[in-house]
């Protein structure tokens, strides 16, 4: 692109905020009541990680892998790509992440869940925020509750929960499991910023947090 420095962030926004937020209303209407199952499964997974960390990565991968594939297909390809052609190129990354999560769960030597240190506690907070607080954002923004973004249904809370759970794990696998969620946080955060939405900042902050904490985690040896 020539004269790229003359472009503003909102020059890359192809759609109006109204159209974007209505995507979630359509997605929720199409998949209801799957939301209850995905949220409940996410909460149970957090409990499993806290109570039985030894086998937790297996269940983490087995839940998150299909969830990433579902969101990539049902939301990114079926809805979002219709108004944003760039998303058609991002969607395959969701399928790659689904495979990586399944591989991390099933291949010997995958990540391990263990002691709750400061990074893991931050991850726990992030996961719970993605599961419980993110869907409640319409109460703050004033948008229709029918458009609430929920884990396993919409990409942003799914990515936040994934990053949170991965920060509770240890091992070199994090180096391949974190980049795609981190990049999505950045992409979505910049999109929301171009739309003038304050919701951009949690996404952008999470991408920075994930990069820093992920790097710190990788510098420590797995137990």
């Amino acid at each position: 692109m020539s004269e790229w420095w003359t472009y503003r962030l909102d020059d890359f926004l192809l759609f109006s905020p109204r159209v974007y937020w209505r995507l979630f209303e359509a997605q929720n209407a199409a998949l209801w009541p799957l939301h209850l199952a995905t949220t409940l499964a996410g909460l149970v997974l957090v409990l499993v990680i806290l109570r039985w960390p030894g086998r937790a990565m297996l269940w983490t991968g087995l839940l998150l892998g299909p969830v990433w594939a579902l969101v990539g297909w049902s939301f990114l390809l079926q809805r979002y790509a219709g108004i944003n052609w760039a998303v058609a190129y991002a969607a395959p990354a969701f399928f790659v992440q689904a495979l990586l999560l399944l591989a991390a769960a099933l291949v010997p030597g995958g990540p391990l869940m263990g002691r709750l240190d400061a990074i893991a506690n931050t991850g726990l907070g992030l996961a719970l925020a993605g599961l419980l607080l993110y869907p409640a954002l319409p109460f703050v923004t004033g948008r229709p509750l029918a458009g609430a973004e929920m884990f396993g249904i919409a990409p942003d809370p799914t990515v936040l929960v994934t990053i949170g759970l991965l920060l509770m794990a240890r091992g070199r696998w994090l180096a391949v499991l974190l980049p795609i969620p981190l990049l999505w946080c950045l992409f979505s955060g910049l999109t929301l910023l171009a739309m003038g939405e304050a919701q951009a900042w949690p996404m952008l902050a999470t991408s920075m947090l994930a990069a820093v904490l992920g790097a710190l985690r990788l510098r420590r040896r797995a137990p």
Partner: protein, 305 residues
């Protein structure tokens, strides 16, 4: 004549738009200002309809219906040129559905773009675009933002020579690459050039608008309201009393009248999702236009706000 679901819907949509129009403005009784396309002499209404962002509504059927209503009001008010691009997400498909619902108005002037850096991919993209619109051929095809312009111009001029296209153009926006635009205008027999122009973005006055007049190139003005940023900025500001001198009742109309008062401008293509705004825009092309002094006042006043 066979009544089909499509023809009934088209009649209903057009009828609704006509009923809501002010008396005397239906089907060109007070037709909007028209300007000639210099290369052919064909008259074209000077208010067109853009689709950037506004028509990119995906599969949302409620919003698609809104877009169709906008198109219905546009045609009912005498508008002809609708402009889009492969870059605009689902806009092309939404326009195609709207045209089908409205029974494919024969007054349509279809303005599209080719948008790919690869010259070899251009023809396939144009064909895909044509299918989305559901038209036999386009009236105007433009090289979007000069991407791959040399190869695409060869393609477009060949299509025009073969009778598969009526007019050829290039586009830029927000003042980008005016040097190259100027070179292409000087060296190629373009029918149209599309650029950004409004009371606060006036770079085109320096070279491109005089060159277009000199070379007989029609000018399409995009982003007259800076994608809505300009009208949002003016929202709440009182319209100056002297706006009444040219019959402007809103900032949008005053801006459009400022643009249309530039003789080199052929068509302005404001984009909107609202039927009342389409009518307001079309009405701007009726009545008096500001003279040189008033244009200066408009630019100075808006620039100071």
């Amino acid at each position: 004549m066979t009544l089909t679901r499509r023809s009934l819907m088209a009649t209903a949509a057009l009828g609704t738009a006509m009923l809501a129009l002010p008396a005397g403005r239906v089907f060109g009784k007070t037709a909007p200002l028209a300007r000639p396309i210099p290369s052919s002499g064909e008259q074209i209404p000077s208010i067109g309809l853009g689709s950037w962002i506004t028509f990119n509504v995906g599969d949302d059927t409620a919003l698609q219906a809104e877009c169709t209503a906008v198109m219905a009001a546009f045609f009912a008010g005498g508008g002809r040129m609708i402009d889009s691009s492969p870059m605009y997400g689902s806009s092309q498909a939404v326009i195609g559905r709207g045209l089908a619902t409205l029974g494919r108005p024969d007054t349509l002037f279809s303005a599209e773009k080719v948008w790919t850096s690869s010259g070899t991919n251009g023809p396939a993209q144009i064909e895909q675009t044509r299918r989305l619109w559901g038209v036999e051929r386009f009236d105007l095809l433009q090289v979007h933002n000069l991407a791959g312009w040399e190869a695409h111009l060869d393609t477009l001029f060949a299509m025009k020579a073969a009778g598969r296209l009526r007019y050829v153009g290039i586009t830029t926006s927000e003042g980008r690459r005016h040097d190259l635009v100027e070179q292409i205008m000087q060296r190629h027999p373009l029918d149209f050039v599309q650029l950004s122009y409004n009371p606060v973005d006036r770079d085109a006055e320096q070279r491109l608008l005089p060159l277009a007049a000199e070379r007989g190139i029609a000018v399409i003005v995009n982003r007259p309201f800076q994608q809505g940023a300009l009208t949002r900025r003016l929202d709440g500001e009182p319209l100056p009393q002297w706006a009444a001198e040219v019959g402007a009742t809103s900032w949008a109309q005053l801006i459009l009248k400022f643009i249309l008062a530039e003789p080199a401008v052929t068509v302005v293509i404001p984009a909107t999702t609202r039927v009342d705004h389409v009518r307001e825009n079309l009405a701007a092309a009726g009545g008096a236009l500001p003279d040189r002094d008033l244009r200066g006042r408009i630019a100075a006043h808006i620039g100071a706000l």
